[in-house]
């Protein structure tokens, strides 16, 4: 017991200094970076909630699910520089597949659009938050530029992606063929584009 006292004091001192560090960081945090991180976390929560099966959200499992989803989403806002953001995005995609394949949730265009929007907003906000110091004094133009960019990308993407999806959904006979063909074309185009960009560097 005699050796426990100093160890305990050391541990408490460490915790105290850690708490003081967090408090000082919180005090120095400025509204701009906090808003960007909040948007990233909210978008992550939205993406995860949209990916979770509808039955789970409406059942008594909701509190247990929220206990998992909320910290995961919050971590996106707290650690935007880490691979956690990618992991949350992959988990949302996995959850979406489980919901639609395993739980038989219908693939509504609106839900797909919301999920795509949430995933992209999370990605874009986390990308900015990752390079933005938490105590930075931010010009309003930065956030305005981000908002315009995200809205533009989402507007075009939703029109193209969801429009194409709806159009292909009208062709029941070709449904099994159109997907692989379109996907292959887009994948090949993207690979070619990235290769061209890398060569250009």
């Amino acid at each position: 017991m005699s050796g426990l006292g100093p160890d305990l004091r050391t541990a408490l001192g460490g915790i105290r200094s850690w708490v003081l560090y967090l408090v000082s960081r919180a005090r120095r945090t400025t509204p701009g970076p906090a808003l960007v991180r909040l948007v990233a976390a909210a978008a992550a929560l939205g993406a995860l909630a949209l990916a979770v099966p509808a039955d789970v959200l409406s059942s008594s499992e909701l509190p247990r699910t929220a206990v998992i989803l909320l910290p995961a989403a919050l971590a996106v806002g707290l650690f935007p520089r880490t691979r956690w953001v990618s992991l949350v995005a992959v988990c949302a995609i996995g959850g979406w597949l489980v919901s639609t394949i395993g739980f038989g949730d219908p693939v509504h265009v609106g839900r797909v659009g919301l999920l795509a929007s949430a995933l992209y907003v999370m990605h874009a906000a986390a990308a900015l938050a990752a390079v933005l110091p938490y105590d930075c004094l931010l010009a309003s133009g930065v956030l305005f530029r981000l908002a315009v960019r995200v809205c533009g990308v989402l507007g075009v993407s939703l029109v193209v992606g969801l429009g194409g999806m709806s159009f292909a959904g009208q062709l029941p006979q070709a449904r099994s063929v159109v997907g692989p063909i379109v996907g292959s074309i887009v994948a090949a185009s993207l690979a070619g584009l990235l290769a061209w960009h890398l060569r250009r560097r």
Binding site: S86, L97, A116, H123, A127, G141, A187, L190, L193
Partner: protein, 440 residues
């Protein structure tokens, strides 16, 4: 100040680029394998944003430079610093983050925070920082660092750095005046009334007319009353040379800047500035000497230019405790004219200082020691049971040193602003005017 970045800057992909490519590839792969168009729709924003963002890439890092005021600021007054950030690329920056490192003695508003801004192609943005200079001296402003993010946060530039410069802050000059006469003077010009009779403006008395007296000196009122010629007897006006010797061999106390406690070097520099200003405004010649490991000397001169030179010279003063050995022979007496008044500003914290002052006095110089330790000498120190005793011993030893200095003819006065030198100058003048005994 030029930008130090080399033209071979590069941009690196961020983790966001990897994430966008990963998600796009994963979603499209799954969409192809499972035949799911909804997965392709999920991939569309990522694919489009990457393709659109990378259509034009920046090639050069952001530029940064710092603009500082050329004029010196007064201690406690505001100084300005401007950080200019530029985008030399034909592509806009989503974000440029600039950070300025500066001396803690410059309280620039939000100067300890990074600044984030967006920059259009070719645009230059300025961050104006202003705040009070809390202490005299040369205060470093810089380096300034900047990095930028472009292409929807997919590319990150290298960090551009610029070195910056100094902001010069001159010390405040506490009120100082010395009403007493100078013990010695160097020429029959100037404004100091001396103890010697001569052509001056200070009335010393009225005496009978003697051969050689000028008629314009005749005091007609006394002459008519006494019916005998009387002349006004005046003292001559003379100029003087003052040598301010700064003993900064040791520092004591912690400087709190203009609004806080003064350290020994603070007191020394501010007192030196005040003394120099007073005597230069009187028309005297003032020289400055620094007693430290790296002694410096400002030649004697008079006038406004010398005041500016003295202030500039004082701004370079630093405590050199532990930074170098003191000069072996102290201050060379030949640097100080015999007729000059030497005001030594010293905390008397080491035996070298007392030795140096005594050496000057023995060489025939008129030396006045001003104690710059002030309240620090009386401040109680918390410590063990022996601390109090040690402090008392130290005070006794210091008082003993001061007594020894007085024995060799060096009066010691504590720095108290205006009137600090009056009493000692009065005593010294009286001693200088007294008849001297010669031993044959």
């Amino acid at each position: 100040m030029p930008d130090d970045t080399t033209p071979a800057e590069s941009w690196a992909p961020t983790r966001a680029l990897g994430r966008a490519v990963l998600l796009t590839g994963l979603l499209i792969l799954l969409g192809v394998l499972l035949g799911r168009l909804d997965l392709v729709a999920l991939a569309t924003p990522f694919a489009l944003s990457v393709a659109w963002a990378l259509r034009r890439k920046p090639t050069r890092a952001p530029t940064v430079d710092i603009a500082l005021p050329a004029e010196a600021a007064a201690e406690g007054r505001d100084v300005d610093a401007v950080v200019r950030v530029g985008n030399p690329n034909p592509v806009g920056f989503d974000l440029a983050v600039a950070r300025l490192v500066h001396s803690p003695w410059l309280r620039l508003a939000h100067g300890d925070r990074p600044y984030g801004m967006d920059l259009s192609p070719g645009e230059r943005s300025e961050i104006a920082l202003a705040g009070a200079a809390l202490r005299w001296g040369h205060h470093a402003v810089g380096p300034a660092l900047v990095y930028a993010v472009a292409c929807d946060g997919l590319l990150l530039s290298t960090v551009a750095v610029t070195t910056g410069g100094d902001v010069r802050v001159h010390p405040v000059m506490p009120p100082f005046r010395a009403d007493e006469t100078m013990p010695r003077s160097s020429a029959l010009v100037g404004i100091h009334r001396s103890r010697r009779p001569g052509e001056g403006g200070e009335l010393a008395g009225v005496r009978r007319y003697g051969p050689g007296d000028k008629l314009r000196r005749v005091d007609w009122r006394v002459t008519l009353r006494t019916r005998e010629l009387h002349v006004a007897h005046t003292l001559s006006d003379r100029d003087a040379e003052v040598v301010v010797l700064l003993d900064v061999l040791h520092e004591a106390g912690r400087s709190g800047g203009i609004h806080g406690a003064a350290s020994v070097v603070d007191t020394t520099v501010r007192a030196a500035a005040a003394i120099a200003e007073y005597y230069l405004r009187q028309g005297d010649r003032v020289a400055m000497l620094e007693y430290s490991g790296h002694p410096r000397h400002l030649r004697a001169a008079s006038g406004r230019a010398q005041l500016q030179a003295a202030v500039e010279w004082l701004m370079h003063t630093r405590s050199t405790a532990g930074a170098g050995d003191p000069p072996v022979f102290g201050i060379e007496p030949h640097l100080i004219p015999g007729s000059a008044l030497v005001v030594v500003l010293t905390p008397m914290l080491g035996p070298q200082s007392a030795d140096m002052i005594a050496t000057l006095a023995r060489a025939g110089r008129v030396v006045v020691a001003v104690d710059t330790l002030g309240e620090l000498a009386r401040r109680p120190i918390n410590g063990s049971q022996w601390t109090n005793l040690a402090q008392r011993l130290w005070r006794l030893e210091r008082n003993n040193t001061i007594g020894q200095l007085r024995e060799v003819g060096v009066p010691v006065a504590a720095w108290a602003g205006a009137g600090t030198l009056d009493e000692v100058l009065r005593d010294m003048t009286r001693m200088a005017a007294a008849p001297r005994l010669g031993v044959r």
